[in-house]
Homo-oligomer: 453 residues x 2
Amino acid sequence: MNRTKIKALLARTAPLEKVLIKGWVRTRRDTKEFSFLEINDGSCLASIQVIVDAGSPGSEHLPDLSTGAAVAVTGEMVPSPGKGQAFEIRSHALEFVGGSGGDAYPLQKKRHSDEFLRTIAHLRARTNKYGAIMRIRSRTSHLIHRFFEEEGFFLIHTPVITGSDCEGAGEMFRITTVKGTTPASEDFFGKETNLTVSGQLSAEMMALALGDVYTFGPTFRAENSHTSRHAAEFWMLEPEMAFCDLAGNMDVAEALIKYVVKGVLETCSEDITLFAKFVDKTLMATLTSLRDDTYERLPYKEAVEILQNAKKKFEYPVSFGIDLQSEHERYLAEEHFKKPVFVYNYPKGIKPFYMRVNDDNETVAAMDLLVPRIGELVGGSQREEREDVLRKRMADMNLPEEEYWWYLDSRRFGSVPHSGFGLGFERLLMLLTGITNIRDVIAFPRTPGSIDF
Amino acid sequence: MNRTKIKALLARTAPLEKVLIKGWVRTRRDTKEFSFLEINDGSCLASIQVIVDAGSPGSEHLPDLSTGAAVAVTGEMVPSPGKGQAFEIRSHALEFVGGSGGDAYPLQKKRHSDEFLRTIAHLRARTNKYGAIMRIRSRTSHLIHRFFEEEGFFLIHTPVITGSDCEGAGEMFRITTVKGTTPASEDFFGKETNLTVSGQLSAEMMALALGDVYTFGPTFRAENSHTSRHAAEFWMLEPEMAFCDLAGNMDVAEALIKYVVKGVLETCSEDITLFAKFVDKTLMATLTSLRDDTYERLPYKEAVEILQNAKKKFEYPVSFGIDLQSEHERYLAEEHFKKPVFVYNYPKGIKPFYMRVNDDNETVAAMDLLVPRIGELVGGSQREEREDVLRKRMADMNLPEEEYWWYLDSRRFGSVPHSGFGLGFERLLMLLTGITNIRDVIAFPRTPGSIDF
């Protein structure tokens, strides 16, 4: 007979005469007459209780069924007399699939620190917390794809290997197939190549052909940063919309986040509740605000005035022209507005060459979305579509035109106003779960000096 | 007023009093009294016809509206008296958005060679053919995600940067942040790191926690290969299922491909028709077979016998123990069975260490799916779940156990039978469109010596 997943069983409201489950033992408790097994198969947070009568077929394996062992159980699903579950399974036949080494198994039933679990990333998804984050990560990815498909966007896979060394977003990893001091001209691609820090410039080319597009893939930073917010490899979502201005850009970002939060609350409630209970007591309030509140929108200039007038003492002083620090961003979202805030029209001097220069010639049509606890979740802009203005910006910033001939082409041929943004996927997951270390929302995180798996 | 996309307009069955479209001019034809513009916005293959009366608002821009120029048109959608379209738009106001440099625009209305279009990959998605392939690529990605979500799989993002140098699937790119002869111990991760050739081993860890998972992301090969079937960077889909044997593995692969082909035929029919008409006359027959036929399943041994008895003369002679060549694979699928064929139970000697050894101790529980025109589309196996057999295989193949301590852990703790496969996403796209060069199904392809964008 076919196996049924525990998620499907627990969704039932009626008993079942015969059922086959397969999974891993979370706990075992023995009495003289029978044993209780809690079986989890990863399909959901909850386990199902199995009763194995002493002497029933396969019960001779019970001593081997310590935490982590794999089993298959055929039996009847019946109403449970015990607390905490509507149904339980009475085993008719127990099959021992794989042992777990008894005391050698690193995930004994007790609380383990996040630090310890990082050293066994290959096993930690078997715990409640990390199983839940992996399920939420998957569901959030699916919601993102669904949102964009419903809105008529096309998914573009922009390349990970780039010949550009100045995409502008950070330090890059170099890629090579040669050793030592062999010149780049003899390397695989005939020139120096790097791991991308952003798919934006490629995505722009596709938006100017297909209309609305997005990329969603791995991006890289070679910064030797040991904070809880930075990883060398992370996933970034980057939509790019033709015929879209800065206000439209903010509209898309706000609609996306509301859609995702609503979807996660509706379909991952069991997993989310775990985080609301044990990780961040304010989580439900944050998520409700993200879903229901209208996000504030204010110019950078006004944000600076609010920060200057704040009673709070900041580590970094505030004046027009500075890049906002995390403490400033969080103050605006958490304390002043108490909801998500778009800050837009940033000073030209702190922003990249591709952002559209405003008529004041002092600011660019950039926007950041600031959210409680995380700070910047989204960063985007209307792009400079005017060829002459773009060339001037590039010259001012000493960017070599010959490296960007194809990018400039897009402003020579059928250039249109367009906009887009980047959203750090792991930051979104931290927002959704209350987890504070980026290493804990990635299956196998990559940080300086750390690549064990 | 809000812009309407052309795809939505063309889906209408009734006229519209007022509409705003934005897009790019494909062609312009002038008479004394009015001009015809074909406008495309990338949302679909078809363009919409716009009639601009001489002297109407914005008509002074008409001379600038050569192929590739960007416009916005407000007007009325009315039944078209002309052939080839049900509706057309009579312009009330024409806005000139961006010029296209007249004759300088590389995509004049004529047929361009694929070779030429590869040199302008940043513009080629503006042509019918490359726009269509990009839309099909997007839709196929979405269908893959939908299939696995409906089937209860979790999406896992396995890392691109790996510390392993022997994942077994091919030559690797090295990643570094240091120059010249600096030792790897002083590099970013403290050891030599590479770009992944497969997410399988990581995905196995997740399947053994969550049940059914899949990865879908970029993978890399540093082979200096100049064929039409190989790229240095490509996307790979890798599902991995706990409690699943080789037959179940083939079931998943067959169900997936049928789901995707059915979905593409239903929702991309306009774009697919373009390829069936101009690229591959046999395309519809191939796709119908992929969707409707029951795929053949036969052991490698029988496949070898069929090939040995074939009247066809092969370049590579066939005997038990050889790796099947593309000519053999295509013969089986195209000529002998005339439908997709799973070949399974391959000789142990030509397959990687992680494949499960069969009771004959001569073959492993591997399977390849062979399809017409492409040859191998899917390669998978049941994995070796028995710790002692796995260790012996690794020793026989001189693989260092200390590099795989975490992989071996999964066989020590709650090991279960499990299976999975890899599907080259670009090969699937070539199958779906009849395109024969991998460079033409990737937005910005990466091949040896070629990284212009």
